[in-house]
Symmetry: none
Subunit: 250 residues, 2 copies
Amino acid sequence: MLTPERHKLIMQLLKEKGVVKIQDLVDITETSESTIRRDLTQLEEGKYLKRIHGGAARLQGKLQEPSMSEKSSRNLQQKRQIAQYAAGLVEGGDSIYLDAGSTVTEMIPYLPAKEIVVVTNGLMHISALLERNIKTFLLGGFAKEQTKAIIGRGALASLEYYRFDKCFMGVNGIHPQFGYTTPDQDEAMIKQKAISLSREAFVLADNTKFSEIAFAKIGELHTAAIITNELDEEQQETYTSKTTIKVVTA
Amino acid sequence: MLTPERHKLIMQLLKEKGVVKIQDLVDITETSESTIRRDLTQLEEGKYLKRIHGGAARLQGKLQEPSMSEKSSRNLQQKRQIAQYAAGLVEGGDSIYLDAGSTVTEMIPYLPAKEIVVVTNGLMHISALLERNIKTFLLGGFAKEQTKAIIGRGALASLEYYRFDKCFMGVNGIHPQFGYTTPDQDEAMIKQKAISLSREAFVLADNTKFSEIAFAKIGELHTAAIITNELDEEQQETYTSKTTIKVVTA
DNA sequence: TTGTTTTTGAATGAAAATGATTGATTTTTG
DNA sequence: CAAAAATCAATCATTTTCATTCAAAAACAA
């Protein structure tokens, strides 16, 4: 059974049942567990599903809320710490860019509401921003379903209208040699441009992003400062030599 | 049974019954007590429920719904009728503009999902559109908190990139002499422009909008066709002489 | 064909989830 | 009130699932 067939099958089962177990997929497709795992990993990277222990789950198309499992996890606590620190960097009068992404969303409750202007391409941020009565501008363009982000030519064009004091970006990979990377080419271009339009750029990343490489390159390490939570001595040294890095400790 | 499945199940039972006993959950899920306990602990950490001795209780957080349930239920039926008819006008291959507004939102479930392209300035539409996997473009610009619409210079500028087969607009006032009106000048400009970029334009309006005048003028009656629900003979005559009007009857 | 890349399946140890057990705590019962 | 019963948190061994690695198989190109 060919890879795209399996992927289609998995997605179909997922659509029907909401959750699938790896063992069931192994039986149905008559392939090895390894192969199914690889399939799930790929599909998750493309934001087609959420991997869970023992299988995979359909991801709810909801525009906000993280899922039940992640809401209670340590992971969210860490994200929130990073986000809170990042939000603390914003001063009254700033105009800032908020990249699409869940870590960045966590910044919003901590932003100084008064006198700041926010520009974003993240659909998941809007309601939180409006709720706080923050002056918000949205990029125009194509609304991508999987990542809930505005992308495309239109988005790049609308970015041109703005300049930022600070921008806050999410990335999928941080690597000493390959810099900041993300799976989607279009999103990479937006991130790139936003960084170039900003006086200061910050990348928000938990420790799982380090030494990872995703498909599309955003830029070299020195183009942005990194805000993260944990990092062992060795890695910290590696990265400190290439860019500014702030480790937020618990 | 996978962890998220159990979590979902627990929450569902909780929603129905208010409280659940641990033993019942053990029986239903056919897992051990330990596991259920762990589940409850996690869910409590995520603020999904309150643990009580012997089980768990629902947490009446801010689960309030759009509270105007009573008054609008009849109104909603009417809106939905209008919306459904309007959606029926859209054909595969069309590119359409959806104005911000609650009546227009009701169109989305009835739109032919395949092969259409939607452009909108209505933030309230996005999640419904994405859920239906409809190709969606959003105008860029300022996000207005009260109306959840994108407005401003940026929005006008991004409109220029598009042309539409059909556009569907909401208005606050329809008047034989003063035409279509809406309270906000900025929104009026957007609506105006969208209509001018569209081959055919439709205004969705329930009967309460007729003979009303709001502050900012969008255009004369003849610039768009009207889709409404009820309209007495006399009025219908008045308007039919000035534009196309479709009365959707129950 | 031959050499190269991609895909696959198996093996490994690490990580996570589970179920049973313990003794402490709370609730119920007499 | 005190004893009994039920529920609890904490711990540990076991099982399951996981990521990673590597070599074989398959698909591909020259």
